[in-house]
């Protein structure tokens, strides 16, 4: 049990830090170490004490390798986080440009909640996936609940979009047979959404800790796809001059928020890296 915990924690901590090849190599070496040590009569506890915590193991590896090459793993890490943050904000942009006035009010109330969530999940080192691991199970469950809420909001919004404001004729202004392609796209979107629900539920049930990080990324990636659709939708309405101005301002504000947030992440992570050095 201890070995399993050690290996899975190590895996989670390595997720952001290095390439897949390196990660598998380190995991293999550690598994081998456990196997040989166990066969020589040591207990799992003794082995864990010997090696130190997974955090220590990674720290030692990093310390040795730092002298060799500058740490561009961090660059990747904060780049990934910034992109994720941007994508997360994008879904909000989509929702606001798509939904009606009443929903707009609700969404503006949800906005700070979403903001907190993003910071909670992606906000620099202390809220990274490895940080999640350090927390107790209850903390982890709390985060999962927040994710479900967020997930339900985005999926219901997606369904709302598909069912009520999906105007094939207008939306698919760039294809010759709008209704045909529009229907096709609608079906694809529905399938993707449903598949995602199923996958999410299955994985929630199996409760794999290290998949959480990927799920938050996946949710936000879907959000960014929705944003693109939303933007295309907006473009399709260009023929209406009265509507275009407030919509343009709205979406620009949202983009600005995304950029500010992304820059904030960049700055924050950069500061952390400097501090660590």
């Amino acid at each position: 049990m201890r070995e399993e915990k050690f290996i899975s924690e190590l895996y989670l901590r390595l997720l952001w830090k290095c390439s897949k090849r390196e990660r598998l190599e380190i995991l293999h070496d550690m598994k081998e170490y456990f196997e040989i040590a166990l066969s020589s009569g040591k207990t799992e506890k003794e082995i864990c004490d010997e090696l130190g915590s997974p955090k220590d193991v990674i720290r030692r590896i990093e310390k040795e390798e730092k002298q060799q090459e500058p740490n561009d793993t961090y660059t990747l890490e904060w780049l990934g986080r910034s992109i994720a943050a941007f994508a997360a904000v994008a879904i909000l942009g989509f929702l606001i440009t798509q939904l009606g006035h009443i929903n707009f009010v609700i969404l503006s109330l949800l906005m700070p909640v979403e903001g907190c969530l993003i910071w909670y999940i992606f906000g620099g080192k202390y809220f990274s996936s490895a940080w999640l691991m350090e927390k107790q199970e209850t903390e982890l469950k709390k985060i999962l609940v927040l994710h479900i809420v967020y997930f339900i909001i985005s999926i219901s919004a997606a369904f709302y979009f598909i069912n009520s404001s999906f105007d094939c004729e207008k939306w698919m202004w760039f294809v010759k047979e709008p209704s045909k392609y529009g229907l096709c796209l609608k079906n694809i979107l529905l399938t993707v959404a449903l598949l995602f629900v199923v996958m999410y539920v299955i994985n929630m049930a199996s409760f794999h800790k290290y998949t959480i990080a990927w799920y938050s990324l996946a949710i936000h990636a879907i959000g960014s796809i929705c944003m693109i659709f939303g933007f295309l939708h907006m473009l399709s309405r260009i023929s209406d001059p009265i509507q275009i101005i407030p919509m343009f301002i709205k979406s620009m504000l949202i983009y600005a928020e995304g950029v500010i947030l992304a820059l904030g992440f960049l700055y924050y992570s950069h500061k952390l890296i400097k501090k660590e050095k």
Binding site: E32, Y33, I36, G52
Partner: protein
């Protein structure tokens, strides 16, 4: 042990060990830990990884009579040159230290 001194010495000792015998990771870590009990096993692992990356050591999978193959480490030509240089430096330093009178 002082970190600066330790780094060079540990590199040299590990390189020497794998130049004498081809050993698998666990073996090296255990053996080194016996000599340097205040240094953690995973530190030796980290050093082995670095030596491997730098090209002083290489790995291969050796067939075991029972159980899965293990990852063995052996010294490369580059590593041998480095080891010779390290030993020379070390002897030089220790003779100077002795000359001063530190025993």
């Amino acid at each position: 042990m002082d970190a600066q001194i330790k780094k060079g010495v540990l590199d040299m000792c590990i390189l020497y060990c794998i130049s004498q015998n081809e050993m698998y990771g666990y073996d090296i870590m255990q053996k080194m830990h016996q000599y340097f009990p205040d240094v953690n096993e995973s530190t030796f692992y980290a050093i082995l990884r670095r030596l491997n990356k730098e090209g002083s050591a290489e790995t291969y999978f050796g067939a075991e009579s029972n159980g899965p193959p293990r990852k063995y480490y052996r010294i490369t030509e580059e590593g041998k040159i480095r080891l010779q240089a390290n030993i020379k430096d070390w002897n030089n330093i220790s003779s100077k230290v002795n000359e001063i009178g530190i025993k």
